[in-house]
Each structure stands twice: as C-alpha cells, then as structure tokens.
C-alpha cells in the first residue's frame, strides 16, 4: 500500500499546513479565553501575509517582512479591540467587517504598489524563510525508519514552524501557570469578579487581543514567506475559519488545539495529494475532504461527541458599574 516515504511526505506536508492553523488557533485561544470572540482571524492573517510579502519583496529581508506582517496584524487587532472593548460594539460584526476590509484592502494596495494585478512579486532567496537543518540530521539519516523521520519530517522546516509548535507549551504555561493567565481566563468567565478584585478588565482584554494580533501576524507571514513565495489575493482561503473550527474542536485548550490543527492539516495534505480516496471500497471525493473540518466542527458543536462550552463571558462587552 503506502511505503514509509509516502507517509513521511504526507506528514511533512501536514506539519507545514498545520503551522498557520496552529498559530491562528492559539491567537483565537488567547482572545476568546479573555472573552473577546474573534472571527477576524482570517483578516489578520491576510493583512499580515500581504505586508510581510510586500516588505520582504521590497527590502529583500524576510525578517523585516515578518515585522511588517506582525505590525499590520496588530493594527487590525487594535481596531477589533477598539470596537469590541472600548466602544462595546458587537464582536462578531467587527470581525465580519475586518474580514472584508482585509480582503479588499490587500488587493487594493497590492495593485497600487506592485502593479501585478493584486499580487506581490515572487519572493527569492532572502525574501523567504529557508528550511533549517537540525543538528545531526545528515548523520542520522542512514538509520532505518527513525533516520528518515528525523531528517525529513522533524528537521528541515523554516523557523516559524518550530516557533508555532513551541508556542503550544508556552501558551499552556502562560494560561495555566502564571498570574496573568489566571486573570486572563477569569476575565473570560466572569469579568465582574476580576473588576471587583481591582484588576482592569479593559487592559487584560486588550493584552489578549494584542497577543492574538502578534500570533496571527506570524501565521500570515509564514503563509506568504514560508509556505508560499509571495502574496496572492485571498491567499488565506478560509484558514482563519478552519483555525476557529480547530479552536472549538479543541474546546479552547492549547494541547488539544495542536491536535486539532494537525488533524485538519492532515486532511488538507491528503486532499492536496489525492484527487479522491478509496475508503472501504467507496470513492470519497476531494470536496468532502475539504469540507470535513467544518463538518467535524458542527458535530462537535452539536455536542454529540463531548460538549464544547465556550468561555462564559465570551462575546459580551463588559460594562463597569456606574
């Protein structure tokens, strides 16, 4: 059937495809755990993808590109914070608006800046994140089974991939082992109690939204400068929503988020490689594979496989008692 090489190739591509999902998913995790719903993950990733590619193409430095991407994403996060925290507006509507804004604005600026019909020039050499070879990867590649796994699967990704996966324990630690994390989770469950304790709800929520901005910025930058070589219109292609789905699938917990993102990444990788798959004698069409993350999320939301309960204060602005 499938040999080890094929499996490694599919898993390798799973890790690449899961990386932007994971970063965006953790972004959503911070924001929603603090009680700010964020359906604008897609928007933040998209502006970050564009500005990182644009700056990397113009300056030739992918690091400057990364910074520009994060900055753009943070600006969008601030707009979301302004609308949903300061002006107590509807968080969902703000997210919808930002998604449109990103989709229109990136193409608008891209056309004006590069004149290539809404894309950036293809990135070369220093404009992209290069794969990193981990220590001993070459030396160990001869070892049967484990050698190729280490050499081809674990080693040889760009730095942002490792950053994304290191963010998982870090997120867990920050949320569950620090005072900031405790307060952050509290503000998503019962902001009144946090306020009573003399801690600023507004400041906590803004920090969560800003962290989400930074993480989405990295996700978008990886998309345009690591996974692809440049920006094309609407290149996020619904990944922000898949990340949102993964977040619900993981029931707002970091380690499970990684599992969910890897699962959705795997579905994507298999869908990319095979047009249709024979499963128990039935041909499963590729479109079904594409829709599977969404279908699974609906099933989870329906509570047939464990119930997904969002943070209790999510979606509501906090109005201080006057």
């Amino acid at each position: 059937m499938m040999d080890l090489n094929t499996i490694i190739q599919i898993l390798d591509s799973t890790i690449r495809l899961a990386t932007p999902l994971l970063l965006a998913c953790l972004a959503g995790l911070f924001s929603e755990r603090a009680g700010v719903f964020d359906i604008g993950l897609e928007a933040k990733m998209l502006v970050a993808a564009f500005f990182s590619a644009a700056v990397a193409a113009t300056t030739g430095s992918v690091w400057l590109g990364l910074c520009a991407g994060i900055a753009a994403s943070v600006v969008f996060a601030l707009i979301h914070g302004l609308a949903s925290i300061t002006f107590r507006g509807d968080q969902l509507i703000s997210g919808v608006a930002l998604n449109f804004l990103a989709s229109g604005m990136t193409v608008l600026i891209a056309r004006d800046w590069f004149n290539e019909g809404g894309r950036t020039p293809a990135l070369i050499d220093g404009g992209r994140f290069q794969p990193i070879t981990l220590p001993f990867a070459e030396a160990l590649s001869g070892v049967p089974v484990l050698g190729p796994i280490y050499h081809d699967l674990i080693s040889g990704h760009s730095i942002l991939v490792y950053v994304a996966f290191l963010m998982v324990p870090l997120t867990w630690y920050v949320l569950h082992r620090t005072r900031f994390g405790l307060r952050l989770r509290a503000v998503g469950e019962n902001p009144g109690a946090v306020d009573t304790a003399g801690i600023s709800v507004v400041r906590l929520r803004y920090s969560a939204v800003l962290i989400a901005g930074v993480l989405c910025g990295i996700a978008g930058a990886y998309l345009a400068t690591g996974l692809a070589a440049g920006f094309v219109r609407d290149m996020t292609a619904g990944r922000g929503f898949i990340a949102l789905a993964a977040l619900i699938f993981a029931k707002w917990r970091p380690w499970y988020a990684m599992g969910a993102c890897l699962l959705f990444g795997l579905l994507d990788a298999i869908g990319n490689r095979y047009q249709s798959i024979e499963l128990l004698g039935i041909a499963v069409p590729g479109q079904f594979m594409q829709a599977l993350p969404y279908i699974l999320t609906v099933v989870i939301l329906a509570g047939f496989v464990g119930k997904a309960i969002p943070p209790r204060a999510g979606g509501a602005a906090y109005v201080k008692e006057r």
Partner: protein
C-alpha cells in the same frame, strides 16, 4: 436615556455612513486618485443612465433578499451569517426545479422556482437553527461552517451529477420557458426604451418580500413573538413563547429569504447553476441589514445604496486606477462604523442632545 427616534433611525446611520465614506475617500486619495471625481464617476455610473439603473437595481434585488434574511434573524437576536450558504443552496433548488421539466412559460415556472429556492435555503438554515435551539451550539459558528460545506457541495455536484458536457464546471442551460422577462422587455412593452441589463421581474418580487416581511414582523402574532423573544428571552418564555419554535421558524424564514436571491441571480441572470452563484451577496446582506436598522424599508433603501455601490465600483474600475476591490473596502467600513463602532458616534450624539438642554427621553415617552 434614549435618543429621539429620528436621531436613532436617520441621524446616526447617516453620520456612520458619512464616516465610512470619509475613510474610503482617504483610501482613494492614498492611491493617488481624486475622491470627489471618483464619487462623481460612481454616482453617474450607478444612476446616470438606464443601463446603470438596470445593474444597480439588479444587484439591489440580490441584496434585498439577503438583507431581509439577516434582518428577520436580527429581530430574534440571531446573527445569521450563513446567508451565503443558504443562497448557494437556494441556487441549487432553483436549478433543480428549472432543469426538471421543459417549462412552457415563465409564469408557470416562477412559482415553482420560488418554492425550490425558498425550500432549499430554509433547509440549509434548519440544521444550524436546530442545533442552536436544542443543543445551544452557537449559530454564528455553525452557519459559517455551513457556508463552507455548501460551497464544497456545489463544487462537487458541478463536477459530477449536475455537470453539463464540456469543460466548464456548470450545469446545463435552463430551458427557455424559465427565462424571466427583463426590464428591457417590460419597459419595451410600454414603448419605453431601457438599456440591456440583467434587471428582471425578480425586483418586483423583492419589493413584495419587503412588504410581506413588514406584515410578518409588525402585523402578525408570530412577528410579535419573534420581536418579543429578541428583546428579552426570559420575558418571552414567561409569556408562554417557545424559544425552540421561535428560533426554528425565524431561521427557516431567514434561510428561505436568502435562498430566494437565487431566483434573481440564477434564474434571472446566469440561467444555469455555477460554482459561485452568490458572489458575496450573503455577506452584503449583513451590511444592508445593519444600515437599514433591520426594517424592511431601511433594508430596501440600503440594498439600493449597495447596488449603486457595486455598479458604481465597476464603472470606477473601468474609468480610473481604482480597482473594484474598493467596493469591498467601502462595504467593510460601512459594517464597521454602523455595526461595530456604533457607540463611537452614539455616545457623543447623546451627550450633545443632553447638552442642548433637551430631554430626548421625554420626547419618546410622549410619542409612545
């Protein structure tokens, strides 16, 4: 403290719209074009000729249906973000009906395609509605997921069961008996010349839908229950209104309205099923409902405004360096300012009314 009604319904939406246009103007300025000139081109392109009007009202017809869909759900405090998917399924329903029989005349076909679009749209809204009503699954998330599932479903059907011979992933052309008369035909019958455009009788259907939604919401017991539920769920339950029933019925109506968009876009214009039949109109419905303050008259006005925006945007791209995506930006800013940043305008306006020494609260009480 509340604002006088005219300020709430007219003044604040206008200030919001003005702010959105102001920021859009800045964007136009930044890409090196003259905003005033751009505005002139857009207005002229949208309403300066019967050709412009034809396209403006054609787009407006789509937005009337999707806007009403979002508005009806808003009244029950449900955010139906799934208009896009429901309209895609509505397109499937319309196409299945249109392709099923060799229809003799459009007047025979129309009631059935209306039914097809409405039933399929409603069916696509039924699952998220049920999950919200019975299992408490957040309807915003489930309807987003259903948008993607709908899109995958249509792509699949158009490369398999419904695919017409040839390269393109689209269905066969509908029989000629389903073609709706265009505005050109209708005006021509009275000897008035009207440019060729996709505007067709569905626009009248949209007007009827506006009226029926108004009747439903403000002249029937069901509409009262929907609004009561939206104002206060505990009060509605106390009054014996079943939340399950209200959520289901409201979402079915909402989905049906979104599905009806396909009568205009698919039967009226494309005359075949494509992979993308809705082209974002489901999302424009959100902007339209927000601007129209969820009232059918407001939705109608906002839909025509957005129709003009889409048509004007197309002309703008034709005549200047401003690409079509400008429309998306304006649309986003309208949603942002009217929907999410509403308090940014509302709070200062309230303060102003207080400072002017009037007692707006008293006005409203007197009016009631």
């Amino acid at each position: 403290m509340t604002l006088p009604r005219w300020a709430d319904v007219v003044l604040i939406p206008l200030i919001n719209l003005f702010l959105a246009l102001l920021v859009s103007g800045l964007v136009v300025l930044l890409i090196g074009e003259d905003p005033v000139n751009a505005m002139k081109i857009m207005v002229n392109g949208a309403v300066g000729s019967s050709y412009g009007w034809g396209y403006t009202l054609f787009y407006a017809t789509n937005f009337i249906f999707t806007g009403l869909a979002v508005a009806v759900a808003f009244h029950a405090r449900l955010f139906n973000i799934g208009g896009e998917g429901q309209a895609q399924l509505g397109a499937l329903g319309v196409a299945l009906v249109a392709l099923s029989l060799p229809w003799p005349h459009w007047t025979v076909a129309l009631p059935f395609t209306i039914l097809g679009g409405a039933v399929f749209g409603a069916a696509w809204a039924a699952v998220p509605a049920y999950l919200q009503a019975r299992r408490g699954s957040h309807i915003v998330i489930t309807t987003i997921m259903f948008n993607f599932i709908a899109s995958a479903l249509l792509v699949y059907l158009l490369v398999s069961a419904l695919k017409a011979p040839g390269m393109a992933p689209e269905s066969a052309r509908f029989p000629a008996g389903t073609f709706l008369p265009s505005a050109r035909d209708l005006f021509g019958a009275f000897g008035i010349s009207f440019a060729r455009s996709p505007l067709n009788v569905s626009f009248l259907l949209g007007l009827v839908a506006c009226y029926l939604v108004w009747v439903l919401l403000w002249r029937t017991r069901l509409g009262y229950e929907i609004r009561a539920y939206g104002h206060s769920e505990p009060a509605a339950i106390y009054a014996g209104i079943s939340p399950f029933r209200i959520i289901m019925v409201t979402m079915l109506i909402s989905g049906a309205l979104a599905g009806l968009m396909a009568v205009n876009a698919v039967q009226g214009e494309a005359q075949r099923l494509l992979q993308e039949n809705v082209l974002g109109a489901g999302f424009v419905g959100i902007a339209v409902a927000l601007m129209g303050r969820s009232h059918p008259v407001g939705v109608l006005i906002a839909a025509i405004l957005f129709g003009a925006l889409y048509q004007g945007g197309a002309e703008l791209e034709f005549e200047t360096n401003v690409p079509r995506e400008m429309v998306l930006v304006i649309q986003a800013l309208v949603i942002l300012f009217t929907g999410a940043l509403d308090n940014m305008v509302r709070d200062p306006v309230k303060g102003l009314f207080l400072r002017l020494g009037r007692r707006p609260g008293a006005d409203v009480k007197a009016a009631e």
